[in-house]
């Protein structure tokens, strides 16, 4: 039996949405294993959360009725926000494939296929993709949703309540997907074609970074019952709240009519923009073939030349290569921004939990100060390995022959140095630049000394993390999740607890006795310097790695003493 062209094309578009082209076969296999492991952790966490919800709903008093409703609204905001987040993140990650592009035009339009076939297949694949994530996340949350609806079952209104929730939550998820599609659609429609690729890459990065930063806000939604009770100012700005309003309105609670209206208007608006963008591209599909015009920036040319001048040519070359790649590779830009945003979100959550922001300086308790001291250290500890991972993900493995051909002993040390500098800039300087002003605001000018000490500690962590780094950023094949996942999780957690506790104490001592801080700084700096010296001494003797390998040694358990 012959497949219809629409079916074949839809299948092709759908599978290409999951194509991780940057990974080798081993890497893709390893990623699948890591994803399965993460799924298992997520399911375990979901079961734990279900128990927490069951306990909460068992203990919630029926009276006053409004108090129960506001708790329910807060929980439903969370239960709608989770699928919204996953769907928006998934669609944002495949932002480059949301509309038929130049490759589709070149390859498909020479085949006996109508433009309508190409577009409907693309839309169908996108719908399948979004549907898969919407269904998957809702199925995963089903036990939690059921727990929140148990009370309605007792009053006999279970079915209307479930339908209202279903309509609202599904609308919320599709709205989240449509927002991302509409943003990309506006770009395709209105941006100069020469800039579309670059802008859409940056938009994807910003969307992913923003979504990651939203994670702590999302986690706080179950605790927002009072906000719903008091009609907090931020509710009209929080998309999950709109759809909770829609749910209440569908049940018959007209008090949330404004939020419900907002949900309907925004959904319709992004739907119209998405449809318009598709329609516009359908009529002007040939436009995608236009080549970007060359810019005429003489200054850029001279600047680029000047940047190559100087000593340590290989270090400069690699530094420039890394800098251009981070600016132009959507994958790496997204990885770095996404991972740094993850670290930022974690720290932001900690800072938001601290009580004392609105109190006078003298009356703040010690835990507030500890949180302020904890923030940069936690940020660095998460950001440094994250940047290392981003540097390890390859760009174009077929092109790394040029580095293999030009490798030399002295160059290896310079490459190591360039890599460490990159991690220092992104993993230490960025977190300190973001948290430094907060520390200054809280502890005053003493923050300068603290920042210096934090920078030295960050340097030590970078040297430790990069001690086995024998590769050029973005040039070696990558196999994610090589280690034994539970072992890695325990190790990472222990490292986090030890590091943040120890460094908080050090910073506290340094704040109380600045002289002690200087001594500690010198000791930590000497340790970092020693590690750096050792790294530079060994680098020329160790060949660069261009092919990542799975560990072949069996890890002995060593249960016997000998």
């Amino acid at each position: 039996m012959r497949d219809r062209p629409e079916t074949v094309l839809t299948r092709h578009f759908f599978t290409s949405l999951f194509d991780f082209g940057f990974l080798s076969d081993d890497g893709a296999e390893s990623l699948k294993r890591a994803l399965l492991g993460s799924l298992a952790v997520a399911i375990a966490f979901g079961l734990l959360l279900t128990r927490v919800f069951m306990k909460k709903y068992k203990m919630l008093p029926a009276d006053p009725a409004d108090a129960f409703v506001y708790e329910l609204m807060a929980d439903h905001a969370f239960l709608m926000a989770v699928p919204m987040w996953f769907v928006a993140a998934a669609v944002a990650l495949v932002g480059h494939s949301l509309f038929p592009d130049r490759t589709d035009f070149r390859i498909l339009m020479v085949e006996p296929l109508s433009r309508l076939t190409v577009f409907t297949s693309k839309l169908a694949s996108l719908l399948l993709f979004v549907g898969l994530f919407v269904a998957g996340t809702h199925l995963a949350l089903l036990p939690l949703i059921a727990v929140t609806l148990i009370r309605a079952m007792k009053t006999g209104s279970m079915l209307p309540a479930a339908i209202a929730f279903g309509i609202s939550s599904l609308s919320a998820s599709f709205c989240a997907a449509l927002v991302v599609i509409a943003v990309h659609g506006l770009l395709v429609t209105f941006a100069l074609h020469a800039r579309v690729l670059a802008i859409s890459g940056s938009v994807r990065t910003i969307l992913v970074g923003g979504l990651v930063l939203c994670v702590p806000l999302l986690a706080r939604l179950p605790g927002t019952a009072t906000a719903f009770a008091s009609d907090a100012w931020w509710l009209p700005w929080a998309p999950p709240a709109w759809f909770v309003g829609l749910e209440r309105w569908l049940i018959g609670d007209t008090r949330q009519g404004a939020l419900a209206a907002e949900a309907v208007i925004v959904t319709l608006l992004v739907l119209i923009v998405s449809v318009f963008s598709y329609g516009w591209l359908y009529r002007r599909f040939d436009r995608v073939l236009l080549q970007p015009a060359s810019s005429q920036r003489e200054r850029g040319w001279r600047r680029s030349l000047a940047q190559w001048v100087g000593r340590a040519p290989v270090r400069h070359a690699i530094g420039r290569f890394v800098s251009i790649t981070v600016q132009r590779s959507v994958l790496h830009q997204g990885l770095i921004v996404g991972l740094l945003a993850g670290a930022g979100g974690f720290v932001l959550n900690g800072l938001m939990n601290a009580s004392g922001w609105d109190q006078p300086v003298d009356t703040r308790d010690r835990s507030f100060l500890f949180t302020i001291l904890w923030a940069p250290m936690a940020g660095m500890l998460l950001a440094i390995p994250a940047v290392r991972v981003a540097l390890a993900v390859p760009l174009d493995l077929r092109s790394n022959w040029v580095f293999r051909m030009t490798e030399d002993a002295a160059g290896r040390a310079e490459i190591s140095s360039a890599s460490v500098r990159t991690v220092l800039a992104l993993g230490v300087v960025v977190p300190l630049a973001l948290t430094g002003p907060i520390q200054w605001w809280v502890v005053g000018p003493s923050a300068a000394g603290l920042l210096a000490l934090e920078a030295v500690i960050g340097w030590l962590v970078v040297e430790w993390v990069m001690r086995e780094w024998h590769r050029i950023p973005f040039t070696c094949s990558y196999i994610p999740g090589k280690g034994f996942v539970p072992h890695m999780v325990v190790k990472a957690f222990a490292a986090y607890v030890f590091f943040t506790t120890a460094t908080m104490l050090i910073l506290r001592v340094a704040l109380a006795v600045p002289q002690a801080g200087v001594v500690i700084g010198v000791i930590v700096g000497a340790a970092a310097g020693a590690l750096g010296w050792q790294r530079m001494r060994h680098a020329p003797l160790t060949p660069l790695i261009f092919d990542d390998e799975l560990p072949t040694d069996v890890n002995p358990l060593r249960l016997n003493v000998d």
């Binding site: 690729l197 251009i324 760009l395 022959w401």
Partner: protein, 254 residues
């Protein structure tokens, strides 16, 4: 001189190259011919030092690749078969990167890179990332990067692929002049016409073994088409007419 002795390469159980030996002298251009899967690309990867042989050795100007791979590779310029380069860079960024990795001085690069870009007609596109480049333009960037450090041995794997007529003629003339100045050129290709026009000697590879090694002048004496006929015989190619007939029958049937 480039000397390959008993080069053998196995990929697991597959013998890709079986005791291949040849010499390439200064001023000489060797044409390296062979059908797909004959081991041409494996030889090229061994010659440029991207692969290590399972047996045998290779040396350039007395430096064995296995003894000092860095010094060995420093003397080589390479144009790969596929135009594999970091396309997110501009042409000048890429040449600067390669030049710095080759440890050319800033002064040399400041002069050499723009000049090469001008001469290879890439100057107008110097600010564009190479993602927008045609195959021919990428090929010209690769030729420039191979020549940038003025190497003693040029290893070219289908260098004319994608080049327009003018660029092809320029490259051919350039290669002849480089050979005239004493450079060694290892030229892997499928194009008999280019081998006849450029090379002094030809090596034909079949199933991982050297099937034929002759001077190109000998073919010239035997008349036009002689290289092609010899190649078909040496590589034991089937008669193509029945094969073409079969293809026609296949597409005509249900």
């Amino acid at each position: 001189m480039l000397q390959a002795r008993g080069l053998t390469k196995r990929y697991g159980g597959l013998l890709a190259l079986d005791r291949v030996s040849f010499e390439l002298h200064p001023g000489e251009i060797i044409g390296y011919l062979g059908p797909n899967g004959s081991g041409k690309s494996t030889t090229v990867n061994l010659v440029v030092g991207l692969l290590e042989p399972s047996a045998g050795d290779i040396s350039l100007c007395g430096i064995r690749a296995s003894d000092d791979p860095i010094a060995y590779k420093r003397r080589i310029g390479y144009v790969p078969e596929e135009p594999s380069l970091y396309a997110h860079l501009t042409a000048s960024d890429y040449l600067m990167l390669v030049g710095r990795l080759r440890r050319l001085t800033a002064r040399t690069l400041q002069h050499r890179v723009p000049e090469l870009l001008k001469l290879l007609q890439l100057h107008d596109s110097r600010y564009r990332s190479m993602t927008t480049f045609s195959k021919g333009m990428r090929q010209r960037v690769l030729v420039a990067s191979a020549l940038l450090h003025n190497p003693e041995l040029l290893v070219l794997d289908e260098p004319f692929s994608g080049l327009d007529v003018n660029a092809g003629l320029l490259l051919r003339t350039l290669l002849q002049m480089l050979a005239g100045e004493g450079r060694m050129i290892f030229f892997s290709t499928h194009r008999f016409d280019m081998v006849e026009k450029l090379c002094s000697r030809v090596i034909v590879l079949s199933s991982g073994r050297v099937a034929l090694e002759r001077r190109v002048a000998d073919f010239d004496r035997e008349g036009p088409g002689s290289l092609e006929e010899t190649f078909v015989r040496a590589t034991q190619q089937p008669d193509f007419a029945p094969l073409a007939r079969q293809i026609l029958d296949t597409i005509a049937g249900d």
